[in-house]
């Protein structure tokens, strides 16, 4: 990337014999939100800690704003780290919590400047009405907003978010997800957000990095990674319900699965493959071989069907043109262009 604000090149972090990060390359643009997705233990938090200067890399180099900062102290880097646990001072008012980082030693701000910064952050985060309330009397969502505000007032050069929404109720998570994405357009401060939540990963970032066991598996826009995952491992991490992965074999011009159901016309190639098709790309009718609906989940705008297709369990995501019930017969058809194929050895 031209003009990257933050650049990691070959960064590795070891905890004793454990390699928490393995030669990670990563770039964040000056106005960009980068989301890092990975399961527990993928190295997401270690990555943020290395960028914040809380872990020393064993190898590699970190640059920010054109300078190498690999060995800078955390304070000199001027980055803000927001954790999933809010860690506010419970007896202090929201206002005092927000003022605190501005009154820290070494900052030469006048009371008027401090008040102006607090008002600015409060307006951005919609917490103007809460400033005089003790932190302990705020709701979870309000606390997390104040916690973000406490980093915001410093106007750091870079924001690092460590699963900031994980401890919140589903409804609040959804609201704050949208707010945070809107907020950062107004801020113009680069951000990295790490999460294990696929909806956050798809919806919040300009670009997405998928991390697993300390290694970058794929990077790209959320749409690229969703539509064209490089491996089944990546494909499974995005999408809800998750992608259907079906072992297929070439038989008489078709990719055939389970007890002989024809999934797709085969274009030749290997004898055995792993076929991936997302639930929204598996249509309920139009295919040559039947499947039987086992479970129907109505989630509101769509129905999720779990069907048995020649011994293979498959998920379909369908609208409400028709109501389905267990026992219904389908003739699944993979949407052309919605199918991914990998060598069967890629399954593991």
């Amino acid at each position: 990337m031209m003009g990257a604000f933050l650049r990691l090149a070959g960064v590795s972090v070891r905890y004793g014999p454990v390699r928490a990060l393995r030669e990670v390359d990563l770039e964040v643009g000056p106005d960009e939100l980068l989301v890092v997705l990975g399961p527990t233990g993928a190295g997401k938090t270690t990555l943020l800690r290395a960028i914040a200067g809380l872990e020393a890399p064993a190898t590699g180099r970190i640059e920010m704003g054109g300078e190498e900062i690999t060995h800078w102290s955390p304070a000199k880097r001027d980055v803000a780290l927001v954790f999933q646990n809010f860690s506010l001072y419970p007896d202090w008012s929201a206002r005092r919590n927000l003022e605190f980082p501005l009154k820290a030693l070494g900052r030469q701000l006048s009371p008027a400047q401090i008040a102006e910064r607090v008002a600015w952050a409060a307006e951005l985060l919609h917490i103007g009405g809460l400033l005089d309330r003790p932190a302990a009397r705020l709701s979870g969502g309000e606390m997390q907003r104040v916690a973000i505000g406490r980093c915001l007032v410093r106007r750091p050069r870079l924001f690092l978010f460590d699963e900031p929404l994980t401890n919140l109720d589903a409804k609040l998570r959804e609201t704050l997800r949208v707010e945070l994405a809107l907020l950062r357009r107004r801020l113009g401060i680069p951000m990295i957000l790490v999460t294990h939540d696929q909806a956050e990963a798809l919806s919040m970032g300009d670009r997405l990095v998928v991390l697993d066991q300390g290694r970058v598996l794929q990077r790209g826009t959320p749409e690229e990674v969703y539509r064209r995952p490089l491996s089944p491992l990546v494909a499974r991490q995005l999408g809800q319900p998750r992608i259907n992965l079906i072992e297929v074999r070439a038989e008489a011009g078709y990719w055939v699965a389970g007890k002989g159901v024809r999934v797709l016309e085969a274009g030749g190639g290997e004898e055995r493959m792993l076929l991936g098709v997302r639930p929204e790309d598996l249509l309920p009718s139009g295919g040559p071989d039947p499947a039987r609906v086992r479970v129907v989940e109505d989630t509101g705008p769509v129905q999720i069907l779990l069907a048995d297709w020649g011994g293979c369990p498959v998920h379909l995501l369908v609208g409400h043109e028709r109501r389905y019930a267990p026992g219904d017969q389908l003739f699944p058809k993979a949407r052309p262009g919605g199918v991914l194929l990998w060598p069967s050895s890629a399954a593991s």
Partner: protein, 348 residues
């Protein structure tokens, strides 16, 4: 014919906090009922009173026609699954699952047999001889489910059993719980804050807020015909859009826009509720808006539009992302909207 019956059930703590404000609830035999609401709505307290872990301040609880309000937990014949696994750390997986049977005095050979069946069904066979600490969080929760399911109690009580798990596991165990419950036909009371989980599991959803029941009914009914603004917003992800305006001569109108109503409502101020999937991008539509945010979710996306009627979320299937700032037209499926009384928040 109701099997579990709560009458005027109330819980007020000594400090005066009223967690549950006198609720009435009837569950049919074999019914899967989900208590849904934000933190602090009283759902968990209600469940704990049914389990016998909290003593009600007023009201009574009946199961199968007999009152159990003051029975100790052990005498209620319920299977309880908590959010945190609560396995016996010194017992192997198999022993954990056999434990409830041993307490009932089931003979050793029978215990073995029944535990093996359940372990097999939950895919835990290969882990039977391990200790809980050797298992992942998902597997520990699976064992907790197995332990509840090895008996056929009169009631299953589940308190956010999937709350701490990764998305993928949550979906898998959700289907497992539903399939198992359908098979055994044991009446189940299930608590969650996740509306999608509630919608997909429940025969009946009970939406709670502030210690009271706001609405109860089958998922599609609660989704399509929410009783008030709270339910309309809470159910659905994102929730229903609200537009303030006036009903006048068969149209719903505001500053510079108006929509034709499909049903007859009395003239006057009203709040119109419309789900994101019943709004459509339509160059000829009666509302104009600008894209504030494009929230990509893989199978679909939500566009957040700033319009003269406020900020509205629109569900768009498949491709079709829009640039922030782009101007679009918008229309609504007027047969699917709800009108609410702006003063009371109740549906009309």
């Amino acid at each position: 014919m109701s099997f579990l019956c709560l009458r005027g059930l109330e819980k007020t703590y000594p400090d005066g906090t009223r967690a549950v404000g006198g609720i009435d609830l009837e569950c049919g035999e074999g019914e899967f009922v989900v208590l849904l609401g934000p933190s602090g709505c009283g759902k968990t307290t209600t469940l704990r009173m049914v389990a016998g872990l909290e003593t009600p301040t007023a009201g009574c609880i009946e199961v199968g026609g007999g009152e159990i309000t003051s029975l100790p937990p052990g005498a209620r014949d319920v299977g309880f699954v908590f959010q945190f696994y609560a396995l016996y750390p010194h017992l192997r997986v198999r022993e954990n699952v056999e434990f409830p049977l041993a307490c009932m005095g089931v003979k050793k050979a029978d215990r073995r047999q029944r535990a093996s069946e359940v372990l097999q069904r939950l895919g835990l066979n290969s882990l039977a001889e391990l200790l809980p600490e050797q298992l992942s969080g998902g597997d520990q929760q699976r064992v907790a489910l197995a332990r509840a399911m090895v008996r056929r109690p009169r009631l299953y009580l589940m308190d956010e059993p999937l709350g701490t798990l990764d998305v993928e596991l949550r979906l898998e165990l959700r289907e497992l719980i539903r399939a198992q419950q359908l098979e055994t036909g044991v009446t189940t009371l299930y608590v969650t804050h996740d509306q999608e989980e509630a919608m997909s599991l429940a025969d009946r959803v009970v939406v709670m807020e502030g210690g009271l029941i706001r609405q109860q009914g089958p998922p599609d009914q609660v989704y399509d015909r929410p009783a008030d603004l709270f339910v309309a917003h809470f159910i659905g992800s994102p929730g229903m859009n609200f537009i303030a305006g006036q009903v006048r001569a068969g149209r719903f109108a505001g500053e510079g826009w108006s929509l034709p109503l499909a049903q007859v409502f009395p003239d006057g101020p009203a709040t119109l509720g419309v789900r994101p999937e019943y709004l459509r991008l339509d160059p000829e539509g009666p509302l104009r808006g600008r894209v504030a945010m494009d929230e990509y979710l893989g199978a679909c996306r939500y566009l957040y539009l700033d319009t003269p009627a406020g900020r509205l979320a629109v569900r768009v299937e498949g491709e079709g992302g829009r640039a922030v700032g782009e101007e679009v037209g918008l229309s609504a499926e007027m047969g699917r909207v709800r009108l609410f009384d702006p003063a009371t928040g109740r549906g009309r």
